[in-house]
Structure formats: C-alpha cells, structure tokens
Amino acid sequence: MFRFPRRLRITFEGKAFLLITLGVGVAAINTGNNLLYLAFSMNLSLILVSGFLSEWTLRRVSLSARAASEAFAGQESFLAVTCSARGKRFPSISLSALLRFDGETVTVRFPDVAPGGSATRVAAFRPARRGRIRSLAATLSTRFPFSLFEKSMDLEVPSELLVYPRPLPPDPVGPGFREPGPSGNPWAAGRSGAFPRGAREHLPGDPVRDIHWKATARMEKWMVKEREAESVPAVDLRVPVPCPHEEFEARLSAACGSVIDLERRGIPFRLWIGDRLRSRETEGRAAALAALATARADGMDARPERSAR
C-alpha cells in the first residue's frame, strides 16, 4: 500500500497560524493591498521555511538500537538507541524517536545531533516476550523549527536484541532439569573449605579473594584458584521438548531463574533442551540465556526471530 514518506500533523499553534494566514489572504484579496499580499507571502514563506528545515532535520537520519542491559521478558530493561546523522551538512534538531515493542512504546529524545555525528540515549523498556528482535518499528518526528507542524517518518530500526525468558525463582527440588553429580550434593560444591589444587581462568562470579596473583602475573590474565570441590560435575538443566507451549515457556522461565542463580553461586551448569546440549559448563551464562531466549517448543533448530511491532 502506498504511504507518504512523511506524515504531517498540524499543532494547535500551527492551526492558529494557518487561520491567521488565511485571514490575511482574504484581506489581501478583498482590499487589493499589496502590503497585505506581502504579509501573506511572509506567512507562507515561514510555512515553507518550516517545511524545508524540518525536512533537512529528518532526512538521512538513521536509528539503531541495542541492549544496554540484559533484557528479560516482563522485566524492566534498558535499551540504547543511537541516532546517526552521517553524511549530513545540517544538524538534526529536536528529534523525538518513538519505538514500539509489542504494544509498548519507548520515547527517546535527541535535542540535536551534529552533522556527521551520532548521539546515544538509554531508555527503559519492558519486553513482553522472549526472543530475538532484529528490527523495531519506530517513528522519528520533529517539531523543528517553529512548532507549527510535527513532521514524522516511519523507520525500521535494526537491532540485535535478545530478550531472555522471564526468570522464575529457582526451585531446588525441581525434578527434570537439575540433577546432582555423581560425587555428591552439588549445592555443597562451594569454595569455602575446599582444598586448592590448581589455577584456572577467571570466570564471572569468581570472588576477588580467590584470585591467584602469582598465576595472574605469570599468565598475564586473571587466574583464580581451582579447588577440589570444583571437580564436581556440572548441574544439568533440562528442558524437555516437544512440550505444550505454556508448559514449555514455564520451564524456560524456571531454567532461566536457575541459570542466573547457579551463575551467581558459581556452580557450573549445562543446559539441555530436549536431548541436545545447548550450553556447556564452560560457556557460561550468556550462551545459556541465549539458548533459552531462542528455544522452540518443538525442539527445532530454527530460532524464532521477530520484528517487534
């Protein structure tokens, strides 16, 4: 369907200005007074100038979005929106970007973007569903320069957003996806009291007190002490497939909560979706959460991708 590249909304002040301009035009035609024609032309020229300037503000402006924090479904997260004015000679002034997420809108305002430059702003948003979002629908508008009109254009904003499932509080007795290793209770696999037996590379969540300073200096990267208890096999988190949709989402949420909890406590884990290993114990939290974000209830590999509208 044909759509105009720009949309124009007349503000209250704009309506008043148009009304006055119309009045001046009628007065000019009625009286034949050329100075009233001059005033009429001045008003029209201000409208024209307003149109040109707002067009120069909007043209060649692009938006991009990326996550400024981990995004979980149903939880407040942060989105970094970048407005670029590459290849422009005129600054983009007084821009307002409206991004739409599953019926929710996020408004980000850019007072000015220098020609050739870009500006990034961070806004809070609350995604409704998990999944990978490759593009967002956005509207970029400006009232520059006189607030008589609000000119806007629709954009498809490229983004690499990964929305993780809504995390549920971990259930320590939840059967099916959390099994202790053969050497005993995985919850006792803490570091305190365990005998150190070597050094390994630092992982997120490792306490500072475990840093192996000599090994760090020798290897020129952060190393921590490895303890006996760590040889305990990782916890296996299992999400069965195929599975009814609602139950599948609930299991993903529970797995997500467990991943966060295990990561916080420093317990290694593996993630199984169906009979396929989707995250090894060395891959850590990011890989597991990504797998959970893109998992499908039918167990197929094709990851759900969507455009948020």
Partner: protein, 693 residues
C-alpha cells in the same frame, strides 16, 4: 557553544523585540493615540524588568481576564458611542490586551498570543503604510517572527519536559541556521509575492485609516495660492515613458489635475459639472477614439494624496490600470469616486497631436466665455492686442506674444491683483499669467479655461523616469481653437537656470530610484504585470523556438538556448558537488559535548588525568577525586546528572541542567587552581573514588 542560560535570555529578548516591533509599527505608520503607545511601551519595559528580576506575579493572572473584558467593553463603547473609528478602537483594544499580557507571567501560550497581537499590529500598519521604510520593517518583522516562533518552540519543549532544541548548537551552526532561515525566508517571500495571483474583489473595507498624503486641489484658486507650494519638495508623481528611446522634454509634459472655468471676484472656480463613469473594458478606460497620429505612453505613479484627482494630459486617449471606477466630468477632469487614494499606478496613452474633441463631449460651453462685467479695461486690452487678426489662432498667438515682452516671473514680489499684473507691475507667477491670458482670450471671443497641475520635473537617469514634485505645480490655459482645446502657456519658461530648480544629488537619486522601484514593483504590483510577465516569457520561448526550431539560428535564440542548457547543468553540477562532499567523521563520532561539560573535560585533560586516549570523563574524574577528596560530593552528583543528561532518554529539565552546569563549573575551577599530579597506579582507592567507580 551557546550556554543554556544565555540561550534562555537571548530567546526572551528575541520575543520582546518581536512584540516591540509591532508597537513601533503602529507608532510609525498609524495615528494611534500616543498615550496608548506610551502605556504599552511602559508595560513592555516593566514586564521585561519583572522577567529579569524574577518578580513573583502569579497572583496577577486572575485579574487578566477581568481587565481584558473591561478593555473590550471600553473599546466597543468607544467605537459605537464616540469615535466610530474602527482603527482607533481596535488599536486601543490591541494595545490594552498587549499591555496586560506583557505584565503577566508568560508561558508558551501567552507568548503565542503576544506574537499574534504583534502580527495584527503589523497587518494594521501594512494596510495603511505606503512608504519604502516599511520594506525594512517587514524584513525585520519576518526575521523576528521566525526567531520568536523558534524561541516559543524551545519554550514549549521545556514546559513539556522535553529537550529544548539547539542548546548545544555551535555558534557556527546557529549562525548558518539563522542565515538559512533569513535568506530562505526573504527569497521565498519574494517568490511568493511575485506569483500569488493579484485577485482583487474590493468588496469589503478597502483601507483602514490613511497615511500622510499630499494636499489636493481646492475648488477655487486665487493669486495667493501657489507661493507655498513652490518650496515643497515632496514628490507628487513619477513618470516613465516605456516606448520612448530618447529622453523626453520635461518642459513639454503638462500634467493636468483640474480645470477651472468660472471666473468671478478675482477667483477661478471649478465648474462642478456632473460626472459620469468612464467606460472601461477590463483594465482599459476609454477616453477618446483612437487618433490617427502617433500615440505616446506614460506610466504614471501617483504618490498618496487626499484628493480624488487622476492626472492626465491634453490629448489623453486611454488609461490602462487597475484603479477601480473612474469618473469624468464635462471639463475632462478625471476623478476617483472617493477623495484620497494610496499610491496609484496607471498607463496614460495620449496623442502627440491633440485630437479634435473628447469622447465625453468637452466642447466649449457658455461658461468658457464668461467675462466679468466690470472689467472692460481688460476686454479693451484684449481686443486691442488681437487687433484685426482674422482667425482665433492668430488672435491667440498675438495675445500670447503680449506676455513675452515687459513681463517678468516673480515669486517674491508678485502683483497682488490681476489689474496690477496686466497694467502696472507686470510681475507674477504662473497663475497671474494663466488668469491674464484666459481673460484676454475670452475678451477676444475665444473660449478658455485655466488648467492646474504640474509641469516639468527632474529626470532620473538611473531609473529613466521623471520626478514630479509639488514645487513643479503650474497653471496654464486651455483655449478652444480650431475645434479642439489647445494648451497655451504664457508663463516664461524657467528652465534649469531658475532659482527654484534644485537638483537632487546622486544619493537622492538612488533613494528616489529605490522608492520608485518599491512603488512600482511592490505597492502597485498587479495582475496586469503578472499577465505581462507570463506573456513576455511565453513569447520569448515561442520566439526562440519559432520558425527555425530550437535552438534558434539567430543570436538571441542561441543565447536563450545556451542559457536554457547552462542553468540546469550548473544547478545539477552544484548539487552533485554538494552531494559528494558530505561531512565525514569516524564511525564512532558522536555529537559535540555541551559547553560546560566540554570545558571540564579539557581541564581534566590539561591537568593530566587522561592517562591514555579514550579514557572516559568518569574515570578522569575518579582519578581527580583521588587527589582531591574534597571534590567527591560535587563529582558524585555531577556524574549522576551528567549521565542522565547525556545518555538518559531525554536531557535534563532546565533546573537540573543548571545544577549540572554549576557543578561542572565548580569542579573545573577547583581543578584549575592547582597543578594536579599524575594519577598513580596502585594507589589505594579512597572511598569517594570507589563510589565513583
């Protein structure tokens, strides 16, 4: 960079200038009460002072509507009960509301209302003004309107908690934007003014009030009427001769305004014959049938005047122009239906050889031979001079010759009566000569009348037109000889040696040329001129294409073809050049830092806290706080505000932005007071630094 506070102050001054311009337009171009203007100006000054000093006046707002209602009632009563002057009452109301608004606190809506009032004042002035100075006012008003609306856009954004656009614009960008707006606005105004069709219905009010106009013709003239006029240098008309290659002789163009044909008690009076509408076809007013001889055209631009007379000349055949209904009386005087007119422009076509008689009669009547019964001495003088001349032409020539000897032109010591002029002192000016010759002609049985108007003028070679001033006022005689009215002038020619002829300097010529262009292309721009422009453009194109094909074989055709090819090619080349030179920045380039943050960043760099390129402001500030723990509170709060301002969903509201700027300045000043040591690695972090990191 323009700091936010400075922009706020500047913004309000732009608005105040806009509002003041409206008042000054009323003061300059209308006859609005000086007291009302003074009151509004005082309200403007008081409002500005209260704005600047932050005087609380929220409580005054509730009186605003009451006062405006009272003003409305007073102005309505003034209109219907006393003055019945719409302009005066409307101006009173406008200025009253404006004064109240200027004194009250101003949010965006109030700002828009004040701008609307200013626009109304501009329109009132535009409906009255004729002067070239209005062009300057119009330009200023256009620029200030754009500035005011821009400012209100910012103000509105701030009120809604949105970013005020442009507060981090560089001076260069702001200047470029302003120039673009100004230039684009002026060009667009000029283009639109040229192309908007000049449709004129003239159904309602034509003009409000009147500008200063030239005095008109009285219904009688005496021998004491003209002396004051001779020192009046005001321009009455400017005349172009579009089809004449050579410079015309100003001394041969008699511009007739009124004809006086009744003589009694030493006074010449208007005949007051009934006037009827001149038949017209479109823009053409038909005065006579087309003559056999050549016809000359004169484009006459009349300055505003308070009389209804339209100047013409002997042998006028046709008038072309959009001047509304036109009346003519039996003496071939042309009049507008109402006295007073603004600047008028029309083309007068007249036969070089005066035709026989006018379309509207215009032949001699008994009043053209009326002779005072008690002036037999004059009759005897006339018949004595005419002698035995057989024809009227011969008699008239002898009478004209009578004034060539023994008479002298004098404005300083003229004769006080006609008797004195003809028989004793023989000194006087044009009215003496005209009155004397007319009576002598009547004494000899030749119908005659005294015509009053203008003769001569100063030739402006810059614009190739004739400037006719009040000092060129003149009186002469029209005599009925051989079946037509013949112009006879007994006054000795004054020429350029006359002590009353004053030449305008080159500056005056340029100024008058500007005024003439203004009158011609702005004040009197008409549908006819638009049609002529389209017609000439079309004929040029046809001429270029016609017969020989495009491009034409002739030199002119080749020039047009070359221009037609070169102009679009140049425009395309320029466009391509501009397109190929976009401003390039690195992929990570970001917008410029607001000025206070930029100054703090530079201070930190100079103090040695940027240990490697790319170290962000936060870490530099943390390093600075390690060496100056007393700065931790300011730094902590500043970073919180800075992050929200720079990276939050919207910039800070004005009060928080002011706090951020204040803290940034304080940090910068504190850091610039000493030589900061280079930050040491491994230094134990003080608590403040840890908090920052």
């Amino acid at each position: 960079m323009i700091p936010g506070a400075a922009v706020g102050t500047f913004r309000w001054w732009v608005l105040r200038i806009h509002w003041l311009l409206g008042v000054s337009l009323l003061a300059v171009y209308t006859k609005t009460s000086p007291a009302a203007l003074l009151f509004t100006s005082a309200a403007w000054a008081a409002g500005a002072w209260m704005d600047l000093s932050g005087t609380p006046r929220e409580s005054l707002s509730r009186f605003g509507s009451v006062i405006v209602g009272a003003l409305l009632a007073v102005s309505t009563a003034d209109l219907f009960l006393t003055g019945r002057d719409l302009l005066s009452s409307a101006s009173f109301l406008l200025l009253g509301i404006q004064s109240v608004k200027l004194l009250l606190p101003k949010r965006t809506r109030d700002g828009w209302q004040l701008c609307s009032l200013s626009l109304l004042e501009f329109l009132v002035a535009a409906s009255i003004a004729d002067d070239l100075s209005f062009a300057l006012y119009a330009l200023l008003f256009l620029a200030s309107s754009a500035g005011a609306m821009w400012s209100l856009h910012d103000q509105e954004s701030e009120e809604l908690g949105r970013p005020a656009g442009g507060y981090v614009l560089s001076r260069r960008a702001a200047a470029c934007a302003f120039l673009l707006v100004a230039l684009g606005g002026v060009l667009a105004t000029a283009a639109l003014f040229a192309v908007v069709p000049r449709l004129e219905f003239r159904r309602g009010v034509h003009r409000f009030g009147s500008a200063d106009a030239l005095p008109g013709f009285s219904d009688r003239i005496t021998l004491r009427e003209i002396t004051g006029i001779k020192s009046d240098r005001r321009v009455v008309a400017r005349i172009e001769f579009p089809f004449l290659e050579r410079i015309p002789d100003p001394g041969a163009l008699y511009l007739r305004g009124a004809v006086y044909s009744r003589y009694a008690d030493d006074e010449w009076r208007l005949a007051e014959t009934p006037a009827s509408y001149v038949p017209r076809a479109g823009f053409h007013y038909l005065l006579r049938d087309a003559p056999r001889g050549p016809v000359t055209a004169a484009d006459i631009m009349l300055e505003p005047a308070d009389h209804p007379r339209i100047f013409t000349c002997a042998g006028a055949v046709r008038i072309e122009g959009n001047i509304g209904p036109l009346l003519a009386d039996a003496e071939e005087n042309l009049l507008l239906p109402q006295p007073g007119h603004p600047t008028l422009r029309y083309r007068l076509l007249f036969a070089e050889e005066p035709p026989q008689r006018g379309k509207r009669g215009g032949g001699p009547e008994p009043r053209h031979l009326e002779f005072p019964g008690d002036r037999e001495d004059i009759r005897a003088l006339g018949t004595g001079i005419a002698g035995d001349a057989a024809t009227a032409a011969e008699r008239a020539a002898r009478l004209l010759g009578f004034f060539r000897t023994g008479f002298r032109y004098s404005l300083s010591r003229p004769a006080s009566t006609l008797d004195g002029f003809l028989f004793r002192e023989k000194a006087g000016y044009c009215e003496h000569y005209a009155a004397g010759l007319a009576l002598l002609l009547r004494a000899c049985g030749i119908p005659s009348r005294v015509a009053v108007g203008y003769l001569g003028g100063e030739w402006n070679d810059l614009g190739r037109y004739l400037i006719v001033r009040q000092s060129d006022a003149h009186a002469w005689v029209e005599a009925w000889i051989d079946g037509r009215w013949v112009t006879m002038d007994a006054t000795p020619p004054q020429g350029r040696d006359s002590p009353f002829f004053r030449k305008t300097g080159w500056f005056g010529m340029y100024a008058d040329w500007l005024r003439q262009r203004w009158d011609k292309y702005v004040m009197n721009y008409s549908l006819r001129m638009q049609a002529d422009a389209v017609s000439s453009g079309w004929s040029t194109i046809r001429k270029a294409r016609g017969g020989t094909g495009f491009p034409g074989e002739g030199a002119e055709g080749r020039k047009i073809a070359a221009a037609a090819l070169l102009i679009p090619a140049s425009a395309l080349a320029l466009y391509a050049l501009l397109r190929k030179r976009p401003r390039k920045r690195g992929p990570g380039a970001s917008s410029r830092l607001p000025a206070p943050y930029g100054r703090l960043l530079r201070r930190l760099e100079r103090s040695g806290f940027r240990s490697f390129p790319g170290l962000p402001l936060e870490e530099m500030l943390a390093a600075a706080v390690r060496t100056r723990p007393d700065l931790s509170e300011d730094a902590d709060r500043f970073l919180s505000l800075y992050h929200r301002d720079r990276f939050g969903p919207a910039p800070l509201p004005p009060d928080q932005r002011a706090e951020a700027v204040r803290r940034a300045d304080r940090l910068r000043k504190a850091l610039s007071g000493r030589e900061a040591p280079l930050p040491m690695r491994g230094t134990a972090d003080p608590p403040a630094a840890r908090r920052l990191l």
